[in-house]
């Protein structure tokens, strides 16, 4: 019976209304009266917005000229970026030593890119990271191999942003896991300490912690002892992010069925083994998406150090804009920075989606 049916199907032409560009348009843009109306209205609005923007950004714009040339044009003055790129990216790093932060950033990026494949995660990679971080620290600080010392006060621009966000994420994560375990602990004192810490930090804005680190913390230290300002801000970011990570991880721990604990108990595993081998690998895996959300916020929130006068990449941009020569081109400079941040965040979130898929072991 089925044979003639198949035979006839071979000779049938595909229905013209189901394929092709016109059918796609009808299906996706004009499938009923209000969608058609919406499409038309949206296209009209786009016509009002996009061509003028395109003209401003690409047609009437200048890309690599002096500030004077920009005075007479209608469009965007992208020249602000190439003319000041060194200061925006590297800030106050001493003249002639620029290769050091650049090399450190390249090193960090290549380590990150190498570590992308989770199959490469092993002990040696850990040691490679330790070695890499030591080299980066040496490159930035100097003091050996004839490299002059560069105080942390001069670390600025993109290296500072990268450092604050990298350590903000990497140090906050284990701390957050510990806090989450503490919150789930059966010991009342530990539990109370962790709950108070987490809820207090989550209740206040990051700004207040940064203020605390910059103006209140010096009062806490004995006379004559000072701690580096960048380090203080770094610690504030770590402490802040850890509280949020803790809440996310707690969600993952709560989602673990009791049977997992009981099974590990019956295998004779102790608490540490239970956590390390059974519970955490599963719990941390199911909370990858919200964790990445937190880490992305941590990355974006490093820009808040502007308010306590650290020269991250946003602050160096603002300094550039306060130069009378380049005042008035903030739109262009901020768009450049937005693109920079967007690329980083987008790369991180798409990586997390891939990692989640790779690590998925369920059915």
């Amino acid at each position: 019976m089925s044979v003639p049916e198949q035979a006839t199907r071979e000779y049938l032409d595909a229905p013209i209304r189901k394929i092709g560009a016109l059918a796609w348009l009808k299906e996706n843009l004009f499938n009923n009266w209000y969608n058609s109306l919406l499409t038309v209205l949206t296209l009209l609005a786009l016509c009002y917005v996009v061509p003028p923007f395109f003209k401003w950004a690409f047609v009437d714009s200048l890309w690599n000229t002096s500030a004077e040339a920009c005075r007479d044009i209608e469009g965007a003055c992208w020249s602000i970026v190439p003319n000041n790129i060194k200061f925006i990216i590297l800030g106050f790093f001493p003249e002639g030593q620029e290769w050091r932060p650049i090399l450190a950033m390249i090193l960090l990026l290549s380590l990150v890119i190498y570590s992308k494949e989770w199959t490469r995660w092993n002990k040696y990679l850990g040691w490679l990271w330790v070695a890499g971080l030591i080299v980066m620290g040496t490159l930035m600080y100097g003091g050996v191999f004839g490299m002059p010392v560069v105080e942390t006060a001069q670390w600025s621009g993109l290296p500072l942003t990268m450092m604050l966000s990298f350590f903000g994420m990497v140090a906050a994560y284990p701390l957050g896991v510990l806090l989450a375990l503490g919150r789930r602990s059966k010991m009342p004192a530990i539990k109370t300490l962790c709950v108070v810490y987490i809820e207090m930090i989550r209740g206040v804005p990051l700004i207040s912690l940064l203020f605390m680190s910059s103006i209140m913390f010096p009062l806490f230290l004995p006379d004559g002892m000072t701690i580096d300002k960048v380090l203080r801000a770094q610690v504030a970011i770590i402490l802040f992010t850890a509280a949020y990570i803790a809440e996310v991880v707690r969600g993952g721990l709560q989602a673990m069925p009791r049977g997992q604990y009981e099974a590990s108990d019956s295998l004779g595993l102790n608490f540490r083994q239970t956590m390390r081998l059974v519970i955490l690998p599963q719990a941390l895996k199911i909370v990858i998406p919200p964790t990445v959300g937190i880490l992305l916020s941590a990355f974006k929130d490093t820009s808040l150090v502007v308010i306590i006068a650290l020269y991250d990449v946003l602050k160096t941009t603002k300094v550039t804009l306060s130069n009378p020569k380049w005042t008035g081109y903030s739109t262009e400079a901020y768009i450049f920075l937005a693109v920079l941040y967007f690329i980083c965040c987008y790369a991180m979130s798409s990586y997390s989606r891939r990692l989640e898929k790779d690590l998925h072991t369920g059915h």
Partner: protein
């Protein structure tokens, strides 16, 4: 030898383990150590602080709150001058924070819901535009967005002398948006009271209507009637008062506008930045909430003959809201906390006022404690409300 000296304890031996093998005792020791460490560090920091404060002769305590603030604040909701106390200055700051947060939350929910629904639209163009909006706005730091909008308001708009005047009673310049408001008249307060009264009556009518429908099956269109009354009756009151139309027109005097209402560029930039950033997150939450309601639910609702509005109102929304509300609340709190970034663009919110106060008095500890207390109060009261709401909305299971 020892075993012989204490016969009969053999059977208890396994439980008489040394204390470091006993989990309960180990836990006690561990907790005591943790508490001691925390107490020790706190005492160390406290004694350092005392010594430092004495050495730098910084006053302690909240006595400074009664002193004269002697700084001006650009925009205030209550009467304030530089001669007022710090307490009043802080109140002005707190009200400004509340103002921007409240308006921000309302606008964010509206914009976020629209974008979230647009993301689910069957219209390809709308859906992709919404997706682009969400992806782009989520991934740009909110502080950068604030700077961006502030720069646009400050650089792109002309000075008050050349203010744009698109129509009568509205001026746009780099001092903000200035528009005309109706001149004060007894009619307006009466209209406000009538409106409020109708809302209260409508709320009770709605409850009564629900109860009647449950008892008798007879519906009562309380919401619709309230909406009609809420529009018509205030208009009626306005006409009864002799329909006053006098407007308070803004006019350029010297270098600035007088009259009307001014929305400062700081406030607009802060509001715009916060709303656009947060609404991208809210849109994702709304989308996830709507998608969490199974198709079967909608089909079942249509199968028993509910109209599309009823399907949304009675079946989809109650279930979607249960998923939406908790993350939505945390986004609203985020918006409130992010409003503290006002300090970066010069809007006088609570943090900015406190910061000025710290700079004047040097009492950093008290100032930061105040900031933390105020925000903790916002957060904790919101979580109390949330717990109540979650309990109310929780699934009633058998």
């Amino acid at each position: 030898m020892q075993e012989q000296s204490s016969p009969g304890t053999d059977i208890l031996k396994p439980s008489a383990a040394p204390f470091w093998r006993d989990e309960a005792k180990r836990a006690i020791v561990f907790q005591i150590v943790a508490l001691l460490v925390v107490a020790g560090v706190s005492y160390y920091l406290y004694s350092n602080t005392q010594a430092n404060l004495e050495r730098q002769s910084i006053a302690t305590g909240f006595g400074f709150l009664d002193k004269e603030a002697s700084f001006e604040i650009g925009e205030t909701l209550i009467e304030y001058s530089a001669a007022d106390t710090y307490t009043r200055a802080l109140a002005v700051g707190a009200l400004n924070t509340l103002k921007v947060s409240f308006i921000g939350v309302v606008l964010t929910i509206i914009l976020g819901t629209i974008v979230g629904i647009a993301r689910l639209s069957s219209n390809w163009l709308i859906s992709k535009l919404a997706a682009a909006y969400i992806e782009v706005m989520q991934n740009i730091p909110v502080l950068l967005q604030l700077f961006f909008w502030y720069a646009i308001f400050y650089e792109a708009f002309p000075s008050p002398k050349q203010a744009l005047n698109p129509f009568d009673g509205l001026f746009i310049c780099n001092r903000g948006m200035i528009f005309a408001i109706p001149e004060a008249h007894a009619a307006y307060s009466a209209m406000g009271w009538v409106f409020l009264l109708i809302l209260i009556v409508g709320w009770f009518a709605n409850r009564w209507g629900h109860r009647r429908q449950e008892l008798t099956g007879q519906p009562f269109p309380a919401v619709r009637m309230t909406a009609v009354a809420a529009i018509l009756l205030p208009v009626l009151v306005w006409v009864m008062y002799g329909s006053p139309t006098a407007m308070d027109m803004p006019a350029l005097r010297g270098f600035n506008f007088q009259g009307g209402i001014t929305i400062s560029p700081e406030f607009s930039a802060l509001l715009l930045g916060l709303v656009i950033y947060t609404s991208a997150f809210v849109a994702e939450i709304v989308r996830a909430g709507i998608q969490s309601v199974g198709r079967g639910q909608i089909e079942a609702a249509m199968a028993i003959g509910l109209r599309p509005g009823q399907v949304l109102h009675l079946v989809v929304l109650p279930q979607a809201l249960r998923v939406i509300i908790p993350p939505l609340t945390s986004q609203m709190l985020n918006l409130t906390k992010n409003s503290s970034l006002a300090i970066a663009i010069g809007y006088a919110d609570f943090v900015a006022v406190t910061n000025t106060m710290i700079n004047q008095t040097g009492q950093a500890i008290e100032g930061i404690a105040l900031i933390m207390l105020v925000f903790l109060f916002f957060s904790l009261s919101t979580s109390l409300f949330m717990n109540w709401y979650n309990k109310k909305m929780a699934l009633v299971e058998r």
